[in-house]
């Protein structure tokens, strides 16, 4: 039996975009993944050799709404991960 998976689009902004060297990526994650699981996956995949990638202090939006890290991710969600904002 194969584990079901979903495809999502993940966008990165500001210092995180620069550290990762990409502004967005399409990822496949298991169904019923949470934002926290996604962050851990990104940290493990891209942060291992790059101490600049620290996803502990980021904010996350799903479909352009700020969410808590226990939010469940669904097929075709647009996830944005970014550092604290500094506008005005």
């Amino acid at each position: 039996m194969t584990t079901q998976s979903i495809t999502i689009q993940v966008k990165f902004f500001a210092s995180l975009r620069e550290s990762l060297g990409m502004s967005q990526i399409n990822l496949t994650v298991p169904v019923e993944s949470t934002v926290e699981m996604l962050l851990k996956e990104i940290q493990d995949t891209y942060g291992r050799d790059n101490p600049l990638i620290d996803i502990r202090h980021v904010h996350v939006a799903v479909n352009q709404q700020l969410v808590e890290f226990d939010q469940m991710i669904e097929q075709d969600d647009e996830i944005a991960i970014f550092p604290p904002i500094t506008g005005g």
Partner: protein, 152 residues
């Protein structure tokens, strides 16, 4: 009535004020405007360039929500917010807020409120280039304090 724009292009406070004035007719007794500029010095040193990044869609929505909060709190006839993004230099205009109301107290307060929330709740990220290196700006405690004083 309100208008929110996020753009790379510069803006003319005169043109925006004139358009606002014409829309208002004789209703308003006060129009307060604020322009934020790029300073040549910041807390960390000289600034030669400032880069502003945003999240298209979410940034505009976050500004709309700030304007809506101000409109709930004060009686406002018109609100205009223009926020620039992209590469800027010292002396450049970054942000314009125009607020029109019947009396000056509401217009002054709402203009300050909108600016304080733009600093802390609008989705922008700033990167300053100084004499040697470029650094992403961290939020300041003062920005947080200024927003929180409105919640007391």
């Amino acid at each position: 009535m309100h208008s929110v724009r996020v753009q790379e292009e510069d803006f003319s406070i005169h043109a925006e004020w004139k358009a606002c004035h014409e829309r208002l007719g004789g209703k308003a007794g006060a129009v307060v405007s604020f322009v934020g500029l790029v300073r040549e010095r910041s807390n960390t040193g000289n600034v030669s360039r400032l880069y502003l990044e945003h999240y298209p869609g979410m940034t505009e929505t976050s500004i709309e929500q700030i304007v809506a909060k101000a409109q709930q709190r004060w009686s406002l006839f018109d609100v205009i917010v223009i926020h620039r993004v992209g590469e800027l230099q010292p002396e450049d205009q970054i942000v314009l807020v125009i607020v029109a109301s019947a009396h000056r107290a509401d217009a002054f307060a709402a203009c300050e409120f909108i600016m304080d929330f733009l600093k802390t709740e609008a989705f922008f990220w700033k990167k300053e280039t100084g004499d040697e290196e470029a650094v992403w700006i961290e939020p300041t405690l003062n920005d947080t304090y200024r927003r929180e004083k409105w919640q007391k």
